[in-house]
């Protein structure tokens, strides 16, 4: 296996049993992330992007597939191994209001990871480390005794980032870390995360539905639709030419700054199909303008159309004239 790959996921699936059938939240997703890069995962609400991040971190058990971290299979790990793994894999949550215990001060929140992993021998060492992290994530030391409800969203999210990096992990799942924040604060947090990535050689999975954010931060982008990968390539390539009809519609939905720009928006008709007991077909077919008979009865495989550019569509060559 390539030594440079931090995380390798193969055919990962996560199904939830529900009263009306099996909900396919993630279905056969495959990807590799190289060390020090960012994989952006985009898609509309309910397409399984957050579930994917949680399954990778073992916050939810996988239904099928393999996860390898640093070349080692971690799909079925024991409690003890998982405890050690947690130091290297962390998560930043979407909502800085609900992901922080309201009864803990900033100092308590930041020292919790150190206590869990017994990383500080003395109280002084603990305080020193907490102070260092507060400096790094940009929290003034006078806030050490504040509680989360006294801080604004940006500062709370800085706590979230601090809690994730204080263990010195090499891999972080960012689950829409800026979508609950004001636009001005979004930029601050994104810059902080990028600086941290450069300094600490971090690898990110960046889950979001915000296309401009994902363009800004990602090395590679994976577009998901109803639990499946529809297109995957590097960030520049994806924004310059898309091959999958869904990605085309998604990119065309980005609002333009230039009022004279008359490029047409591709409007999708219909609703997101139900992820419960999906039939053997292209998941996007019911809303696709190009769908043919084949699309309604066969799952399209993820094919490498150009070097490094993967698309899952039966008609990709016809539509794009390749």
């Amino acid at each position: 296996m390539d030594n440079n790959v931090m995380l390798s996921v193969k055919n990962l699936s996560k199904h939830f049993p529900t009263p009306s059938g099996t909900l396919h939240a993630v279905d056969g997703v495959t990807f590799d992330i190289k060390k020090g890069t960012t994989l952006g995962v985009v898609g509309e609400s309910g397409c399984g992007k957050s579930t994917l991040g949680r399954v990778v971190l073992h916050l939810l058990p996988a239904t099928a597939g393999q996860i390898a971290f640093n070349g080692k299979d971690i799909t079925n790990v024991s409690r003890g191994e998982l405890y050690n793994l947690r130091r290297q894999m962390q998560i930043i949550f979407q909502d800085p209001f609900s992901s922080i215990d309201p009864r803990m001060s900033v100092k308590q929140l930041l020292s919790e990871p150190l206590k869990i992993h017994k990383l500080a021998k003395s109280k002084e060492e603990m305080e020193k480390k907490v102070k260092e992290i507060m400096d790094i994530v940009g929290l003034a030391s006078r806030m050490a005794d504040s509680y989360a409800h006294e801080l604004d969203g940006g500062r709370r999210q800085r706590i979230g980032v601090g809690r994730a990096i204080i263990l010195n992990p090499s891999f972080i799942v960012c689950d829409e870390p800026v979508s609950a924040l004001d636009v001005s604060i979004q930029a601050q947090i994104l810059n902080l995360m990028q600086d941290l990535q450069q300094e600490r050689k971090l690898t990110y999975i960046f889950v979001t539905h915000n296309l401009s954010v994902v363009k800004h931060i990602s090395t590679e982008i994976m577009v998901m639709y109803l639990g499946c990968t529809v297109e995957k390539t590097n960030a520049k390539e994806l924004f310059s030419h898309q091959y999958h009809p869904y990605t085309k519609a998604l990119i065309s939905a980005i609002p333009h700054v230039n009022p004279d720009d008359n490029s047409k928006r591709i409007l999708l008709k219909g609703e997101l199909a139900s992820p419960i007991n999906p039939k053997e077909a292209c998941r996007f077919a019911p809303r696709c303008n190009y769908a043919c008979d084949k699309c309604h009865c066969q799952v399209p495989p993820l094919e490498e159309i150009e070097p490094g550019h993967f698309v899952a569509c039966h008609l990709v060559r016809e539509i794009n004239g390749l």
Binding site: L59, Q90, I91, Y147, G160
Partner: protein, 289 residues
């Protein structure tokens, strides 16, 4: 007052803030100090009471309230004031003993039931045996089976109050265990014990504390009722409920014998409810600002 001003004045813990908000409620604050006074009265009863509770004075039988005996004497010439003061010991032990016991037992069971789904049905269905039978028949049966004594009375009342705490704790934990900050701790590698003790318990304390104060009064009433019908504290011990029962036969002529211990129960239950009410408001984080 802003949060920052409050902090300067009262320090930085959440409990300091709760204490301060309780202070803004005058009724609750006065009641709180009165409860402390009753507890002190119980502890120092021998020093405060003018006579021993069982000293019989046959020259002064059924004396109306006067300077020597502010609340009068009973049919054996015992000073009623002294008996009330000594009786506060039973009331305090029963009230707070029952609540502490049932709180610890109920909360522990409730947390386990909610956090480990396999234990949920066995624990909760078992506790419902106690909560589905009306209070008096249940307590009477238990006392009759076990025999009348202070210890047995406490055990019965603890059993009776445990399901309530278990249900509150369970409901709270069921909502809290799906909170994102609990998931965040799991992602950090925290053990179950750490999550329960450091995240779930502190966040579920508020309704439990409120129930504690509000039902202390209830347990005092239950104990007094049991004593009244002869299944609680036995004579010659001075217990408020028992005293009401003993004075009952003289109610026509010597009203104070029953009425004064009755008023004591009413008074203590009232102030406990005021504190409980005040705490409910003070502990509500939505009213923080």
């Amino acid at each position: 007052m802003s949060v920052y001003d409050r902090k300067k004045e009262y320090g930085n813990s959440q409990w300091a803030l709760v204490w301060m908000k309780l202070g803004e409620n005058k009724f609750a604050m006065v009641s709180f100090w009165l409860i402390i006074a009753v507890i002190l009265l119980a502890i120092f009863a021998p020093l405060i009471a003018p006579y021993p509770y069982d000293a019989q004075d046959y020259d002064n039988i059924m004396v109306q309230p006067n300077l020597q005996h502010p609340f009068g004497t009973d049919q054996f010439g015992r000073d009623i004031l002294s008996r009330i003061i000594y009786g506060s010991r039973y009331t305090v032990i029963i009230g707070f003993g029952t609540m502490t016991g049932s709180c610890i037992l109920g909360v522990t069971l409730g947390i386990f039931a909610a956090y480990y789904p396999k234990l949920d049905n066995p624990i909760m269905r078992f506790l419902e045996i106690f909560s589905n039978i009306p209070d008096m028949p249940l307590l009477m049966c238990l006392v009759i089976i076990m025999g009348t004594s202070l210890k047995n009375l406490l055990i019965c009342l603890i059993l009776y109050y445990t399901p309530g705490y278990a249900r509150i704790a369970r409901a709270k934990v069921l909502t809290l265990r799906n909170e994102e900050y609990v998931e965040a701790s799991i992602a950090l590698g925290a053990s179950d014990g750490r999550i329960l003790l450091h995240h779930i318990l502190p966040n579920s304390l508020a309704p439990i504390i409120v129930r504690f104060t509000l039902s202390t009064g209830g347990s005092i009433l239950e104990a007094a009722a049991l004593s009244y019908i002869g299944l609680g504290i036995q004579p010659p011990e001075p217990e408020w409920g028992l005293m009401i029962s003993q004075g009952r036969q003289f109610l026509g002529t010597y009203w104070y014998y029953s009425i004064i211990p009755g008023l004591c129960i009413v008074f203590l239950t009232y102030i406990l409810n005021y504190v409980g009410d005040g705490l409910r408001d003070a502990l509500d984080p939505r009213l923080n600002h």
